[in-house]
Protein backbone atom coordinates (compact mmCIF):
# COMPACT_ATOMS: atom_id res chain seq x y z
CA UNK A 1 0.00 0.00 0.00
CA UNK A 2 2.75 2.44 0.98
CA UNK A 3 4.82 1.45 -2.04
CA UNK A 4 1.78 1.87 -4.25
CA UNK A 5 1.02 5.32 -2.90
CA UNK A 6 4.63 6.45 -3.15
CA UNK A 7 4.82 5.24 -6.74
CA UNK A 8 1.62 6.98 -7.70
CA UNK A 9 2.58 10.24 -6.01
CA UNK A 10 5.90 10.20 -7.84
CA UNK A 11 4.06 9.62 -11.09
CA UNK A 12 1.66 12.48 -10.40
CA UNK A 13 4.53 14.83 -9.60
CA UNK A 14 6.23 13.86 -12.87
CA UNK A 15 3.08 14.51 -14.91
CA UNK A 16 2.57 17.89 -13.22
CA UNK A 17 6.19 18.85 -13.85
CA UNK A 18 6.01 17.86 -17.53
CA UNK A 19 2.68 19.65 -17.87
CA UNK A 20 4.08 22.84 -16.34
CA UNK A 21 7.07 22.81 -18.72
CA UNK A 22 4.85 22.10 -21.74
CA UNK A 23 2.37 24.84 -20.88
CA UNK A 24 5.13 27.32 -19.99
CA UNK A 25 6.75 26.79 -23.38
CA UNK A 26 3.40 26.96 -25.21
CA UNK A 27 2.45 30.17 -23.45
CA UNK A 28 5.79 31.63 -24.50
CA UNK A 29 4.72 30.88 -28.05
CA UNK A 30 1.47 32.81 -27.82
CA UNK A 31 1.26 36.11 -29.67
CA UNK A 32 2.32 39.20 -27.73
CA UNK A 33 4.15 39.30 -24.40
CA UNK A 34 3.28 41.37 -21.32
CA UNK A 35 5.65 44.18 -22.33
CA UNK A 36 4.07 44.47 -25.78
CA UNK A 37 0.77 44.89 -23.96
CA UNK A 38 2.20 47.64 -21.74
CA UNK A 39 3.61 49.37 -24.83
CA UNK A 40 0.29 49.26 -26.66
CA UNK A 41 -1.41 50.57 -23.52
CA UNK A 42 1.03 53.46 -23.16
CA UNK A 43 2.27 55.07 -26.41
CA UNK A 44 4.77 57.27 -24.55
CA UNK A 45 7.10 54.33 -23.90
CA UNK A 46 10.27 54.46 -25.99
CA UNK A 47 12.01 51.32 -27.31
CA UNK A 48 14.68 51.89 -24.63
CA UNK A 49 11.99 51.86 -21.94
CA UNK A 50 10.68 48.61 -23.39
CA UNK A 51 14.13 47.05 -23.20
CA UNK A 52 14.49 48.18 -19.58
CA UNK A 53 11.07 46.76 -18.70
CA UNK A 54 11.93 43.45 -20.34
CA UNK A 55 15.15 43.23 -18.34
CA UNK A 56 13.26 44.18 -15.18
CA UNK A 57 10.77 41.35 -15.65
CA UNK A 58 13.46 38.93 -16.83
CA UNK A 59 11.96 38.63 -20.28
CA UNK A 60 15.36 39.05 -21.96
CA UNK A 61 16.56 35.75 -20.51
CA UNK A 62 16.28 32.40 -22.34
CA UNK A 63 12.98 30.52 -21.96
CA UNK A 64 14.33 27.62 -19.91
CA UNK A 65 16.03 29.95 -17.47
CA UNK A 66 12.77 31.80 -16.93
CA UNK A 67 10.94 28.50 -16.47
CA UNK A 68 13.47 27.43 -13.85
CA UNK A 69 13.01 30.71 -12.01
CA UNK A 70 9.22 30.35 -12.10
CA UNK A 71 9.43 26.74 -10.94
CA UNK A 72 11.68 27.47 -7.96
CA UNK A 73 9.39 30.32 -6.89
CA UNK A 74 6.27 28.15 -7.33
CA UNK A 75 7.80 25.32 -5.30
CA UNK A 76 8.68 27.88 -2.65
CA UNK A 77 4.97 28.68 -2.38
CA UNK A 78 4.99 31.86 -4.48
CA UNK A 79 2.58 31.25 -7.35
CA UNK A 80 2.70 34.84 -8.50
CA UNK A 81 0.13 37.45 -9.45
CA UNK A 82 -2.73 37.45 -11.90
CA UNK A 83 -2.37 40.30 -14.40
CA UNK A 84 -6.09 40.59 -15.21
CA UNK A 85 -7.27 40.52 -11.62
CA UNK A 86 -4.24 42.24 -10.06
CA UNK A 87 -4.36 39.83 -7.13
CA UNK A 88 -2.34 36.79 -6.08
CA UNK A 89 -3.19 33.84 -8.30
CA UNK A 90 -4.42 31.67 -5.45
CA UNK A 91 -6.87 34.34 -4.24
CA UNK A 92 -8.46 34.26 -7.69
CA UNK A 93 -8.28 30.51 -8.22
CA UNK A 94 -9.66 29.13 -4.98
CA UNK A 95 -13.15 30.73 -5.08
CA UNK A 96 -13.45 29.75 -8.75
CA UNK A 97 -12.41 26.20 -7.88
CA UNK A 98 -15.12 26.10 -5.22
CA UNK A 99 -17.75 27.23 -7.75
CA UNK A 100 -16.63 24.60 -10.24
CA UNK A 101 -16.78 21.88 -7.60
CA UNK A 102 -20.39 22.90 -6.86
CA UNK A 103 -21.28 22.82 -10.57
CA UNK A 104 -19.52 19.53 -11.29
CA UNK A 105 -20.82 17.92 -8.10
CA UNK A 106 -24.44 18.83 -8.83
CA UNK A 107 -24.09 17.75 -12.45
CA UNK A 108 -22.52 14.48 -11.34
CA UNK A 109 -25.44 13.76 -8.99
CA UNK A 110 -27.92 14.51 -11.77
CA UNK A 111 -26.00 12.30 -14.16
CA UNK A 112 -25.99 9.39 -11.69
CA UNK A 113 -29.68 9.92 -10.91
CA UNK A 114 -30.44 9.49 -14.62
CA UNK A 115 -27.87 6.83 -15.47
CA UNK A 116 -28.46 4.31 -12.69
CA UNK A 117 -32.17 3.64 -13.30
CA UNK A 118 -31.85 3.97 -17.08
CA UNK A 119 -28.82 1.66 -17.28
CA UNK A 120 -30.34 -0.95 -14.94
CA UNK A 121 -33.70 -1.01 -16.75
CA UNK A 122 -32.01 -1.31 -20.13
CA UNK A 123 -29.77 -4.14 -18.88
CA UNK A 124 -32.74 -6.05 -17.42
CA UNK A 125 -34.60 -6.06 -20.72
CA UNK A 126 -32.03 -6.42 -23.49
CA UNK A 127 -33.34 -5.70 -27.01
CA UNK A 128 -36.65 -4.35 -25.67
CA UNK A 129 -37.99 -0.93 -26.64
CA UNK A 130 -36.71 0.45 -23.31
CA UNK A 131 -33.22 -0.77 -24.15
CA UNK A 132 -33.55 0.68 -27.63
CA UNK A 133 -34.67 4.08 -26.37
CA UNK A 134 -31.96 4.23 -23.69
CA UNK A 135 -29.35 3.30 -26.29
CA UNK A 136 -30.59 6.02 -28.61
CA UNK A 137 -30.52 8.60 -25.80
CA UNK A 138 -26.97 7.53 -24.85
CA UNK A 139 -25.73 8.04 -28.40
CA UNK A 140 -27.43 11.42 -28.47
CA UNK A 141 -25.71 12.34 -25.17
CA UNK A 142 -22.23 11.49 -26.41
CA UNK A 143 -22.78 13.13 -29.82
CA UNK A 144 -24.30 16.49 -28.95
CA UNK A 145 -21.97 19.53 -29.13
CA UNK A 146 -21.89 20.83 -25.53
CA UNK A 147 -22.26 24.51 -26.40
CA UNK A 148 -25.18 23.74 -28.69
CA UNK A 149 -27.01 21.80 -25.97
CA UNK A 150 -26.63 24.90 -23.78
CA UNK A 151 -27.88 27.13 -26.61
CA UNK A 152 -30.91 24.94 -27.18
CA UNK A 153 -31.75 24.85 -23.47
CA UNK A 154 -31.49 28.65 -23.35
CA UNK A 155 -33.69 28.94 -26.44
CA UNK A 156 -36.31 26.65 -24.94
CA UNK A 157 -36.38 27.76 -21.30
CA UNK A 158 -35.38 31.43 -21.55
CA UNK A 159 -36.48 32.60 -24.99
CA UNK A 160 -39.58 30.52 -25.76
CA UNK A 161 -40.94 29.58 -22.33
CA UNK A 162 -39.31 32.41 -20.40
CA UNK A 163 -39.19 30.45 -17.14
CA UNK A 164 -35.43 30.26 -16.45
CA UNK A 165 -32.70 32.92 -16.53
CA UNK A 166 -30.07 32.60 -19.30
CA UNK A 167 -27.10 33.28 -17.03
CA UNK A 168 -25.80 31.34 -14.06
CA UNK A 169 -25.41 34.21 -11.63
CA UNK A 170 -28.27 36.14 -10.10
CA UNK A 171 -28.21 39.89 -10.65
CA UNK A 172 -30.11 40.52 -7.40
CA UNK A 173 -27.93 42.11 -4.69
CA UNK A 174 -28.80 39.49 -2.10
CA UNK A 175 -30.20 36.46 -3.93
CA UNK A 176 -32.34 33.96 -2.05
CA UNK A 177 -31.54 30.27 -2.07
CA UNK A 178 -34.43 29.64 -4.47
CA UNK A 179 -33.14 32.35 -6.82
CA UNK A 180 -29.68 30.82 -6.86
CA UNK A 181 -31.16 27.41 -7.59
CA UNK A 182 -33.11 28.79 -10.56
CA UNK A 183 -29.93 30.27 -12.01
CA UNK A 184 -28.02 27.04 -11.52
CA UNK A 185 -30.71 24.83 -13.09
CA UNK A 186 -29.65 25.11 -16.73
CA UNK A 187 -25.86 24.90 -16.26
CA UNK A 188 -26.29 21.81 -14.08
CA UNK A 189 -28.76 20.29 -16.55
CA UNK A 190 -26.37 20.90 -19.47
CA UNK A 191 -23.38 19.30 -17.81
CA UNK A 192 -25.42 16.49 -16.22
CA UNK A 193 -27.10 15.50 -19.50
CA UNK A 194 -23.75 15.61 -21.31
CA UNK A 195 -22.20 13.17 -18.89
CA UNK A 196 -25.28 10.94 -18.43
CA UNK A 197 -24.99 9.46 -21.95
CA UNK A 198 -21.58 7.92 -21.38
CA UNK A 199 -22.26 6.87 -17.79
CA UNK A 200 -25.51 5.08 -18.72
CA UNK A 201 -23.64 3.04 -21.33
CA UNK A 202 -21.12 1.93 -18.70
CA UNK A 203 -23.84 1.05 -16.17
CA UNK A 204 -25.80 -0.90 -18.77
CA UNK A 205 -22.78 -2.84 -20.06
CA UNK A 206 -21.51 -3.64 -16.56
CA UNK A 207 -24.96 -4.67 -15.32
CA UNK A 208 -25.51 -6.99 -18.27
CA UNK A 209 -22.14 -8.58 -17.64
CA UNK A 210 -22.92 -9.08 -13.94
CA UNK A 211 -26.40 -10.51 -14.52
CA UNK A 212 -24.82 -13.27 -16.61
CA UNK A 213 -22.57 -14.42 -13.77
CA UNK A 214 -22.95 -17.61 -11.79
CA UNK A 215 -23.56 -16.06 -8.37
CA UNK A 216 -26.55 -14.17 -9.72
CA UNK A 217 -27.99 -17.36 -11.22
CA UNK A 218 -27.35 -19.19 -7.94
CA UNK A 219 -29.16 -16.51 -5.98
CA UNK A 220 -32.07 -16.64 -8.43
CA UNK A 221 -32.17 -20.45 -8.13
CA UNK A 222 -32.34 -20.16 -4.35
CA UNK A 223 -35.48 -18.12 -4.73
CA UNK A 224 -34.26 -14.58 -4.14
CA UNK A 225 -36.89 -12.10 -5.32
CA UNK A 226 -36.27 -10.12 -8.48
CA UNK A 227 -35.91 -6.69 -6.87
CA UNK A 228 -33.59 -8.06 -4.17
CA UNK A 229 -31.61 -9.99 -6.74
CA UNK A 230 -30.99 -6.90 -8.85
CA UNK A 231 -30.50 -4.30 -6.14
CA UNK A 232 -28.69 -6.30 -3.43
CA UNK A 233 -26.80 -8.95 -5.36
CA UNK A 234 -26.05 -7.69 -8.84
CA UNK A 235 -25.92 -3.89 -8.49
CA UNK A 236 -23.07 -3.54 -5.95
CA UNK A 237 -20.89 -5.81 -8.06
CA UNK A 238 -21.82 -4.07 -11.29
CA UNK A 239 -20.96 -0.66 -9.85
CA UNK A 240 -17.33 -1.44 -8.99
CA UNK A 241 -15.96 -1.03 -12.54
CA UNK A 242 -18.33 1.90 -13.14
CA UNK A 243 -16.72 3.86 -10.30
CA UNK A 244 -13.27 3.59 -11.91
CA UNK A 245 -14.61 4.79 -15.23
CA UNK A 246 -16.44 7.68 -13.57
CA UNK A 247 -13.24 8.92 -12.00
CA UNK A 248 -11.40 8.63 -15.31
CA UNK A 249 -14.15 10.79 -16.78
CA UNK A 250 -13.40 13.69 -14.44
CA UNK A 251 -11.06 15.17 -17.05
CA UNK A 252 -13.81 15.07 -19.66
CA UNK A 253 -16.31 16.45 -17.16
CA UNK A 254 -13.97 19.39 -16.56
CA UNK A 255 -13.81 20.06 -20.30
CA UNK A 256 -17.61 20.05 -20.35
CA UNK A 257 -17.69 22.34 -17.32
CA UNK A 258 -15.40 24.80 -19.12
CA UNK A 259 -17.88 25.18 -21.97
CA UNK A 260 -20.90 25.23 -19.66
CA UNK A 261 -19.30 27.98 -17.56
CA UNK A 262 -18.55 30.08 -20.65
CA UNK A 263 -22.08 29.64 -21.99
CA UNK A 264 -23.78 30.65 -18.75
CA UNK A 265 -21.14 33.14 -17.52
CA UNK A 266 -20.60 31.00 -14.43
CA UNK A 267 -17.60 32.20 -12.37
CA UNK A 268 -15.75 28.87 -12.20
CA UNK A 269 -12.29 27.52 -13.04
CA UNK A 270 -13.14 26.83 -16.68
CA UNK A 271 -14.26 30.37 -17.47
CA UNK A 272 -11.38 31.79 -15.43
CA UNK A 273 -8.89 29.69 -17.40
CA UNK A 274 -10.42 30.60 -20.74
CA UNK A 275 -10.45 34.31 -19.95
CA UNK A 276 -6.86 34.06 -18.69
CA UNK A 277 -5.65 32.40 -21.90
CA UNK A 278 -7.55 34.86 -24.08
CA UNK A 279 -6.50 37.87 -21.99
CA UNK A 280 -2.75 37.03 -21.94
CA UNK A 281 -2.86 36.48 -18.18
CA UNK A 282 -0.07 33.90 -18.48
CA UNK A 283 0.56 33.21 -14.85
CA UNK A 284 -3.09 32.60 -14.04
CA UNK A 285 -3.51 30.39 -17.12
CA UNK A 286 -0.46 28.32 -16.21
CA UNK A 287 -1.33 27.83 -12.54
CA UNK A 288 -5.01 27.25 -13.37
CA UNK A 289 -4.20 24.52 -15.88
CA UNK A 290 -1.90 22.83 -13.37
CA UNK A 291 -4.67 23.03 -10.74
CA UNK A 292 -7.17 21.40 -13.10
CA UNK A 293 -4.64 18.68 -13.90
CA UNK A 294 -3.91 18.08 -10.23
CA UNK A 295 -7.61 17.72 -9.39
CA UNK A 296 -8.04 15.21 -12.21
CA UNK A 297 -5.03 13.19 -11.12
CA UNK A 298 -6.20 13.12 -7.49
CA UNK A 299 -9.61 11.84 -8.63
CA UNK A 300 -7.94 9.08 -10.65
CA UNK A 301 -5.86 8.07 -7.66
CA UNK A 302 -8.99 8.06 -5.49
CA UNK A 303 -10.69 5.78 -8.01
CA UNK A 304 -7.83 3.30 -7.96
CA UNK A 305 -7.82 3.21 -4.16
CA UNK A 306 -11.60 2.84 -4.10
CA UNK A 307 -11.42 0.09 -6.69
CA UNK A 308 -8.96 -1.92 -4.63
CA UNK A 309 -10.98 -1.31 -1.45
CA UNK A 310 -14.28 -2.38 -3.03
CA UNK A 311 -13.03 -5.44 -4.86
CA UNK A 312 -10.97 -7.73 -2.62
CA UNK A 313 -9.72 -9.63 -5.67
CA UNK A 314 -7.82 -6.53 -6.75
CA UNK A 315 -4.54 -5.83 -4.97
CA UNK A 316 -2.64 -2.59 -5.12
CA UNK A 317 0.11 -4.30 -7.08
CA UNK A 318 -2.46 -5.31 -9.69
CA UNK A 319 -3.83 -1.78 -9.94
CA UNK A 320 -0.34 -0.48 -10.46
CA UNK A 321 0.40 -2.90 -13.27
CA UNK A 322 -2.97 -2.55 -14.92
CA UNK A 323 -3.12 -1.45 -18.55
Amino acid sequence: MIRFMAGRLMQMATILLLMSLLVYVLIGLMPGDPIDLMISANPDLTPADAERLKALHGLDRPLLERYWLWLSQALGGDLGYSRLHARPVLDVLLPALGNTVVLMGAAFLLSVAISLPAGIFAALRPASWVDYLVNLACFAGISVPPFWLALMLITLFSVILGILPASAVSTAPDPSFWDRLRHLAMPVATLGLLSAGGVTRYVRASMRETLRQDFVRTAAAKGVGRARLVLNHALPNALVPVITILALDVGALFSGALITEIMFAYPGMGKLLFDAIMGNDYNLALVGLLFATLVTLVCNLGADIGYAALDPRVTFAAVRDRG
Partner: protein, 299 residues
Amino acid sequence: MGPWQLAWRRFRRHRLALASAALLALLTAAAILAPQLQSVLGVDPNAVDLLARLEPPSPAHPLGTDDLGRDVLARLLDGARVSLFVGLTAALASAVIGTFVGLIAGYYGGRFDALLMRTTDTVIALPLLPLLIVLAAVDPAKLGVPEAIARSEYLSLYRVIAIVALVGWTTVARLVRGSTLTVREREFVRAARALGSGPGRIMATHILPNVASPVIVATTLSAGNVILFESVLSFLGLGIQPPIASWGNMLTNAQELIWEAPSLAVYPGLLIFLTVIALNFLGDGLQDALDPRSGADGR
Protein backbone atom coordinates in the same frame (compact mmCIF):
# COMPACT_ATOMS: atom_id res chain seq x y z
CA MET B 1 -19.12 -16.60 -48.78
CA GLY B 2 -16.10 -14.39 -48.15
CA PRO B 3 -15.43 -12.52 -44.94
CA TRP B 4 -16.46 -9.17 -46.46
CA GLN B 5 -19.80 -10.57 -47.55
CA LEU B 6 -20.37 -11.96 -44.05
CA ALA B 7 -19.47 -8.58 -42.58
CA TRP B 8 -21.88 -6.84 -44.97
CA ARG B 9 -24.68 -9.22 -43.90
CA ARG B 10 -24.06 -8.42 -40.24
CA PHE B 11 -23.78 -4.71 -40.99
CA ARG B 12 -27.13 -4.71 -42.80
CA ARG B 13 -28.87 -5.94 -39.67
CA HIS B 14 -27.83 -2.77 -37.81
CA ARG B 15 -30.56 -0.50 -39.17
CA LEU B 16 -29.33 2.65 -37.45
CA ALA B 17 -25.85 2.18 -38.88
CA LEU B 18 -27.32 1.67 -42.33
CA ALA B 19 -29.41 4.83 -42.06
CA SER B 20 -26.34 6.70 -40.73
CA ALA B 21 -24.25 5.59 -43.70
CA ALA B 22 -26.97 6.92 -46.03
CA LEU B 23 -27.12 10.25 -44.17
CA LEU B 24 -23.33 10.64 -44.24
CA ALA B 25 -23.29 9.84 -47.97
CA LEU B 26 -25.92 12.52 -48.52
CA LEU B 27 -23.98 15.11 -46.47
CA THR B 28 -20.75 14.26 -48.27
CA ALA B 29 -22.45 14.64 -51.66
CA ALA B 30 -23.89 18.00 -50.59
CA ALA B 31 -20.44 19.11 -49.40
CA ILE B 32 -18.70 18.07 -52.62
CA LEU B 33 -21.40 19.64 -54.80
CA ALA B 34 -21.69 22.78 -52.63
CA PRO B 35 -20.51 25.27 -55.32
CA GLN B 36 -22.93 23.77 -57.88
CA LEU B 37 -25.82 23.72 -55.42
CA GLN B 38 -25.11 27.33 -54.42
CA SER B 39 -25.14 28.52 -58.03
CA VAL B 40 -28.34 26.58 -58.79
CA LEU B 41 -30.03 28.19 -55.78
CA GLY B 42 -28.50 31.55 -56.66
CA VAL B 43 -27.01 32.10 -53.19
CA ASP B 44 -23.51 33.26 -52.30
CA PRO B 45 -22.02 32.21 -48.91
CA ASN B 46 -19.87 35.34 -48.60
CA ALA B 47 -22.14 38.06 -50.04
CA VAL B 48 -22.70 40.55 -47.21
CA ASP B 49 -25.96 42.53 -47.35
CA LEU B 50 -26.39 44.75 -44.31
CA LEU B 51 -29.85 45.83 -45.46
CA ALA B 52 -31.05 42.21 -45.27
CA ARG B 53 -29.85 41.21 -41.81
CA LEU B 54 -31.52 38.34 -39.92
CA GLU B 55 -34.23 37.85 -42.54
CA PRO B 56 -36.71 35.00 -42.16
CA PRO B 57 -36.75 32.23 -44.78
CA SER B 58 -37.83 33.44 -48.23
CA PRO B 59 -37.53 32.15 -51.83
CA ALA B 60 -34.29 34.13 -52.23
CA HIS B 61 -32.85 32.84 -48.93
CA PRO B 62 -34.37 29.38 -48.18
CA LEU B 63 -33.14 29.40 -44.56
CA GLY B 64 -32.96 33.17 -44.08
CA THR B 65 -29.88 35.35 -43.53
CA ASP B 66 -27.40 35.82 -40.67
CA ASP B 67 -26.35 38.95 -38.79
CA LEU B 68 -24.33 40.20 -41.80
CA GLY B 69 -27.09 39.42 -44.27
CA ARG B 70 -25.31 36.35 -45.64
CA ASP B 71 -27.36 33.39 -46.85
CA VAL B 72 -27.57 30.75 -44.10
CA LEU B 73 -28.10 27.77 -46.40
CA ALA B 74 -25.10 28.70 -48.56
CA ARG B 75 -22.93 29.02 -45.47
CA LEU B 76 -24.19 25.69 -44.10
CA LEU B 77 -23.09 24.02 -47.36
CA ASP B 78 -19.67 25.67 -47.10
CA GLY B 79 -19.53 24.64 -43.45
CA ALA B 80 -20.22 21.04 -44.43
CA ARG B 81 -17.14 21.09 -46.68
CA VAL B 82 -14.95 22.41 -43.88
CA SER B 83 -16.32 20.25 -41.04
CA LEU B 84 -16.30 17.00 -43.01
CA PHE B 85 -12.85 17.73 -44.46
CA VAL B 86 -11.42 18.47 -41.02
CA GLY B 87 -13.10 15.38 -39.54
CA LEU B 88 -11.87 13.08 -42.28
CA THR B 89 -8.27 14.31 -42.51
CA ALA B 90 -7.70 14.62 -38.76
CA ALA B 91 -9.22 11.17 -38.14
CA LEU B 92 -7.05 9.66 -40.89
CA ALA B 93 -3.95 11.39 -39.53
CA SER B 94 -4.73 10.08 -36.03
CA ALA B 95 -5.27 6.61 -37.49
CA VAL B 96 -1.92 6.63 -39.29
CA ILE B 97 0.02 7.89 -36.23
CA GLY B 98 -1.89 5.58 -33.87
CA THR B 99 -1.42 2.50 -36.05
CA PHE B 100 2.29 3.14 -36.43
CA VAL B 101 2.88 3.70 -32.71
CA GLY B 102 0.57 0.84 -31.68
CA LEU B 103 2.22 -1.65 -34.05
CA ILE B 104 5.71 -0.85 -32.83
CA ALA B 105 4.73 -0.85 -29.15
CA GLY B 106 2.81 -4.11 -29.44
CA TYR B 107 5.47 -5.84 -31.51
CA TYR B 108 8.57 -4.87 -29.57
CA GLY B 109 7.02 -4.49 -26.12
CA GLY B 110 9.41 -3.52 -23.33
CA ARG B 111 10.15 0.03 -22.30
CA PHE B 112 8.70 1.76 -25.32
CA ASP B 113 5.46 -0.12 -24.76
CA ALA B 114 5.35 0.83 -21.07
CA LEU B 115 6.02 4.47 -21.93
CA LEU B 116 3.26 4.45 -24.55
CA MET B 117 0.71 3.00 -22.17
CA ARG B 118 1.60 5.58 -19.51
CA THR B 119 1.31 8.39 -22.06
CA THR B 120 -2.08 7.27 -23.37
CA ASP B 121 -3.36 6.72 -19.80
CA THR B 122 -2.36 10.29 -19.00
CA VAL B 123 -3.75 11.84 -22.17
CA ILE B 124 -7.10 10.09 -21.61
CA ALA B 125 -7.33 11.31 -18.01
CA LEU B 126 -6.19 14.92 -18.54
CA PRO B 127 -8.59 17.86 -18.92
CA LEU B 128 -7.95 18.10 -22.65
CA LEU B 129 -9.98 21.11 -23.67
CA PRO B 130 -7.97 23.81 -21.81
CA LEU B 131 -4.80 22.32 -23.27
CA LEU B 132 -6.28 22.42 -26.77
CA ILE B 133 -7.25 26.04 -26.22
CA VAL B 134 -3.66 26.90 -25.29
CA LEU B 135 -2.42 25.03 -28.36
CA ALA B 136 -4.89 26.87 -30.57
CA ALA B 137 -3.74 30.22 -29.19
CA VAL B 138 -0.07 29.60 -30.06
CA ASP B 139 1.34 31.97 -32.68
CA PRO B 140 2.57 29.77 -35.58
CA ALA B 141 5.12 32.37 -36.68
CA LYS B 142 6.91 31.96 -33.32
CA LEU B 143 6.98 28.19 -33.91
CA GLY B 144 9.07 28.62 -37.06
CA VAL B 145 6.25 27.74 -39.44
CA PRO B 146 7.10 29.10 -42.93
CA GLU B 147 5.72 32.58 -43.58
CA ALA B 148 3.67 31.42 -46.57
CA ILE B 149 1.70 28.96 -44.43
CA ALA B 150 1.58 31.11 -41.29
CA ARG B 151 -0.06 33.96 -43.19
CA SER B 152 -2.28 31.73 -45.30
CA GLU B 153 -6.02 32.15 -45.20
CA TYR B 154 -6.32 28.42 -44.61
CA LEU B 155 -3.95 28.42 -41.63
CA SER B 156 -6.80 27.93 -39.16
CA LEU B 157 -7.87 24.85 -41.11
CA TYR B 158 -4.43 23.20 -41.01
CA ARG B 159 -3.98 24.17 -37.40
CA VAL B 160 -7.23 22.61 -36.20
CA ILE B 161 -6.41 19.40 -38.06
CA ALA B 162 -2.94 19.26 -36.51
CA ILE B 163 -4.22 19.97 -32.99
CA VAL B 164 -6.97 17.38 -32.93
CA ALA B 165 -4.77 14.75 -34.60
CA LEU B 166 -2.21 15.37 -31.90
CA VAL B 167 -4.61 14.23 -29.19
CA GLY B 168 -6.66 11.80 -31.29
CA TRP B 169 -4.08 9.08 -32.00
CA THR B 170 -4.05 7.56 -28.50
CA THR B 171 -7.27 5.49 -28.79
CA VAL B 172 -6.14 3.94 -32.06
CA ALA B 173 -2.68 3.27 -30.67
CA ARG B 174 -4.11 1.40 -27.67
CA LEU B 175 -6.42 -0.71 -29.82
CA VAL B 176 -3.72 -1.58 -32.36
CA ARG B 177 -1.25 -2.36 -29.59
CA GLY B 178 -3.74 -4.75 -27.95
CA SER B 179 -4.51 -6.57 -31.21
CA THR B 180 -0.83 -6.71 -32.15
CA LEU B 181 -0.03 -8.39 -28.83
CA THR B 182 -2.38 -11.29 -29.64
CA VAL B 183 -1.55 -11.57 -33.34
CA ARG B 184 2.19 -11.50 -32.62
CA GLU B 185 2.05 -14.93 -30.98
CA ARG B 186 -0.02 -16.65 -33.68
CA GLU B 187 1.49 -19.53 -35.68
CA PHE B 188 1.62 -17.74 -39.03
CA VAL B 189 3.67 -14.92 -37.56
CA ARG B 190 6.07 -17.40 -35.96
CA ALA B 191 6.28 -19.22 -39.27
CA ALA B 192 7.11 -15.99 -41.10
CA ARG B 193 9.78 -15.22 -38.51
CA ALA B 194 11.23 -18.72 -38.83
CA LEU B 195 11.39 -18.27 -42.60
CA GLY B 196 13.57 -15.21 -42.04
CA SER B 197 11.18 -12.27 -42.48
CA GLY B 198 12.35 -9.10 -40.79
CA PRO B 199 10.24 -7.16 -38.27
CA GLY B 200 9.21 -4.52 -40.84
CA ARG B 201 7.91 -7.11 -43.27
CA ILE B 202 6.12 -9.08 -40.54
CA MET B 203 4.39 -5.96 -39.23
CA ALA B 204 3.39 -4.71 -42.67
CA THR B 205 2.22 -7.91 -44.35
CA HIS B 206 1.22 -10.21 -41.49
CA ILE B 207 0.09 -8.12 -38.54
CA LEU B 208 -1.34 -4.98 -40.16
CA PRO B 209 -4.10 -6.76 -42.16
CA ASN B 210 -5.18 -8.56 -38.99
CA VAL B 211 -5.56 -5.38 -36.95
CA ALA B 212 -7.45 -3.56 -39.71
CA SER B 213 -10.91 -4.05 -38.15
CA PRO B 214 -10.23 -2.22 -34.88
CA VAL B 215 -8.46 0.55 -36.81
CA ILE B 216 -11.48 1.06 -39.07
CA VAL B 217 -13.88 1.15 -36.13
CA ALA B 218 -11.69 3.47 -34.06
CA THR B 219 -11.16 5.83 -36.99
CA THR B 220 -14.91 6.13 -37.59
CA LEU B 221 -15.57 6.86 -33.92
CA SER B 222 -12.70 9.34 -33.70
CA ALA B 223 -13.93 11.22 -36.79
CA GLY B 224 -17.04 12.05 -34.75
CA ASN B 225 -14.98 13.22 -31.80
CA VAL B 226 -12.75 15.29 -34.05
CA ILE B 227 -15.75 17.09 -35.55
CA LEU B 228 -16.98 17.83 -32.02
CA PHE B 229 -13.59 19.26 -30.99
CA GLU B 230 -13.39 21.32 -34.17
CA SER B 231 -16.84 22.75 -33.56
CA VAL B 232 -16.02 23.65 -29.95
CA LEU B 233 -12.76 25.38 -30.90
CA SER B 234 -14.37 27.21 -33.82
CA PHE B 235 -17.28 28.25 -31.63
CA LEU B 236 -14.84 29.72 -29.10
CA GLY B 237 -13.15 31.65 -31.94
CA LEU B 238 -9.99 29.52 -31.85
CA GLY B 239 -10.67 27.08 -34.67
CA ILE B 240 -11.72 27.87 -38.21
CA GLN B 241 -11.53 31.65 -38.69
CA PRO B 242 -14.15 33.69 -40.54
CA PRO B 243 -14.75 34.45 -43.39
CA ILE B 244 -14.36 30.68 -43.93
CA ALA B 245 -17.62 29.17 -42.72
CA SER B 246 -17.66 26.19 -40.37
CA TRP B 247 -20.63 24.82 -38.46
CA GLY B 248 -18.86 25.74 -35.24
CA ASN B 249 -18.03 29.37 -36.05
CA MET B 250 -21.52 29.96 -37.47
CA LEU B 251 -22.70 29.58 -33.88
CA THR B 252 -20.20 32.07 -32.40
CA ASN B 253 -22.62 35.00 -32.61
CA ALA B 254 -25.72 32.90 -32.11
CA GLN B 255 -25.74 33.37 -28.35
CA GLU B 256 -25.80 37.18 -28.51
CA LEU B 257 -28.51 37.04 -31.17
CA ILE B 258 -30.57 34.40 -29.40
CA TRP B 259 -33.34 36.86 -28.44
CA GLU B 260 -33.55 38.38 -31.93
CA ALA B 261 -33.00 35.29 -34.08
CA PRO B 262 -33.21 32.03 -32.11
CA SER B 263 -33.43 29.96 -35.30
CA LEU B 264 -29.84 30.93 -36.28
CA ALA B 265 -28.60 28.73 -33.45
CA VAL B 266 -30.56 25.68 -34.59
CA TYR B 267 -29.29 24.59 -38.03
CA PRO B 268 -25.48 24.50 -37.67
CA GLY B 269 -25.68 22.71 -34.32
CA LEU B 270 -28.25 20.26 -35.62
CA LEU B 271 -25.95 19.37 -38.53
CA ILE B 272 -22.97 18.84 -36.19
CA PHE B 273 -25.16 16.69 -33.94
CA LEU B 274 -26.53 14.58 -36.82
CA THR B 275 -23.08 14.09 -38.37
CA VAL B 276 -21.48 13.05 -35.09
CA ILE B 277 -24.29 10.72 -34.05
CA ALA B 278 -24.27 9.14 -37.53
CA LEU B 279 -20.51 8.53 -37.27
CA ASN B 280 -21.01 6.97 -33.82
CA PHE B 281 -23.80 4.67 -35.07
CA LEU B 282 -21.70 3.79 -38.12
CA GLY B 283 -18.76 2.90 -35.87
CA ASP B 284 -21.07 0.79 -33.73
CA GLY B 285 -22.41 -1.04 -36.79
CA LEU B 286 -18.92 -1.56 -38.20
CA GLN B 287 -17.81 -3.02 -34.89
CA ASP B 288 -20.69 -5.52 -34.90
CA ALA B 289 -19.95 -6.37 -38.53
CA LEU B 290 -16.16 -6.62 -38.44
CA ASP B 291 -15.60 -7.89 -34.92
CA PRO B 292 -18.68 -9.93 -33.95
CA ARG B 293 -16.98 -11.51 -30.94
CA SER B 294 -16.76 -8.16 -29.15
CA GLY B 295 -20.42 -8.55 -28.15
CA ALA B 296 -23.57 -6.71 -29.09
CA ASP B 297 -22.87 -3.78 -26.78
CA GLY B 298 -20.38 -2.44 -29.25
CA ARG B 299 -17.94 -0.60 -27.12
